[in-house]
């Protein structure tokens, strides 16, 4: 039996709500994945420690407050510092189109903006796992 894909859905920064993240979490669960969700107001350090302890395949970052250019690359860099190289990092939330190339260069493999179908997110994850 194929082992389930483990995904950390994380909300770095100071977002006020997590409706979107929860929708994604549910969709991933319904697609047979194990989703670790740690709630609001996570620091990059917490996210990376959780990703390591939970041995996840994917870190899915969700942000609405505009701090993505700072926080997303921070998470990627911390993961690298800790020697983690087999985790797919993706992001979503309120992220302007013009920021996406910069984020991808920083190591976030794909960004899913509002309106993306959850099916697309599921398919992307399944096709781009690093393990």
């Amino acid at each position: 039996m194929d082992r389930p894909i483990r995904v950390l859905v994380a909300k770095p920064g100071l977002d006020g709500h997590d409706r979107g993240a929860k929708v994604i979490a549910r969709a991933l669960r319904d697609a047979g994945m194990e989703v670790i969700y740690t709630g609001l107001r996570q620091t990059p350090e917490q996210i990376v420690q959780t990703a390591i302890q939970e041995d996840v395949d994917v870190v899915a970052l969700s942000i609405l407050s505009g701090a993505h250019n700072h926080l997303f690359p921070k998470v990627v860099n911390l993961l690298r510092e800790e020697g983690v190289d087999d985790v797919l990092v993706i992001g979503g939330g309120v992220i302007p189109e013009e920021d996406i190339p910069g984020l991808k260069e920083a190591g976030i493999e794909e960004i899913f903006t509002p309106g993306t179908s959850t099916k697309d997110v599921v398919e992307y994850i399944k096709n781009h796992l690093k393990r």
């Binding site: 389930p4 991933l28 697609a31 047979g32 194990e34 989703v35 969700y37 740690t38």
Partner: protein, 294 residues
Amino acid sequence: MLENNDEEAISIIKELYRYSGNAYVIGITGAPGSGKSTLTDKLAKEFRKKGKKIGILAVDPTSPFTGGAILGDRIRMNDLTLDKDIFIRSMGTRGSLGGISKATWGAVKVLDIFGMDYIFIETVGVGQSEVDIVKLADTVLMVMVPNLGDDIQAIKAGIMEIADIFAINKCDLEGADRTKLEIEMNLDLSEKKDYRPPVVKVSASRNENIEELVEKLIEHRTYLERTNKLQERRKKNAKLEILSLAEEEFISLIMNKSLEENLLDNLAENVLSKEMDPYTAKDRIMSLIDYRRG
């Protein structure tokens, strides 16, 4: 690795097993929403103050339909994430009706070998499945909340008998004293155990009375160690573990065999059409399994 039944994982455990045995395992169970995760967070902090290293296994249900799970217990334990002497792992039940996935057995050993002083296993509470946690824990803490209609629940077989300590969480709510009284009354009526489980009122979210609960946990451990009952209990658990591993492998043999010839499916059809009764179907399977592997 363990969750995926990796051969490598098992051989590593085999090699390192003799170094285990130092950790004390506390099982925390109770109804969904009773506050187990929040309480585990507070208990871990108290034990950390004493300089203990803590491992936490948080088990949440896997959907039997999709195979997926939302493992959300960590939300209540955010403060613990950056503490180097606490390790938290979320696990899905992945098909074990007992509420504890088979991998939890192995995970406890790994954390033990790794040097944890205390290992908390926090499980789903879906009623009778609590009974399974006993197979792993040295002390079982049952978390209850006031007014959940638990009065009748408590009397059902298995629930009252497995708890070594009762914690009434959310004690600020109306009805906490009554719930405590009901549990005490049930304990009065039930068969006398050597150690009467204490009933402690706490409020995890308000951090109230956690020290008393910790005291009771340590008292129970001391009692078990002093009377040598800990060894008895662990021996019983070891038997159950061996059996459980054997059972798992046996079922696996049957399923593999069945896949080869669509056996189970055919037998089920026969049973459905009354051509065969279930007992004969079972005999058919048993005769095909070569379990004389020695």
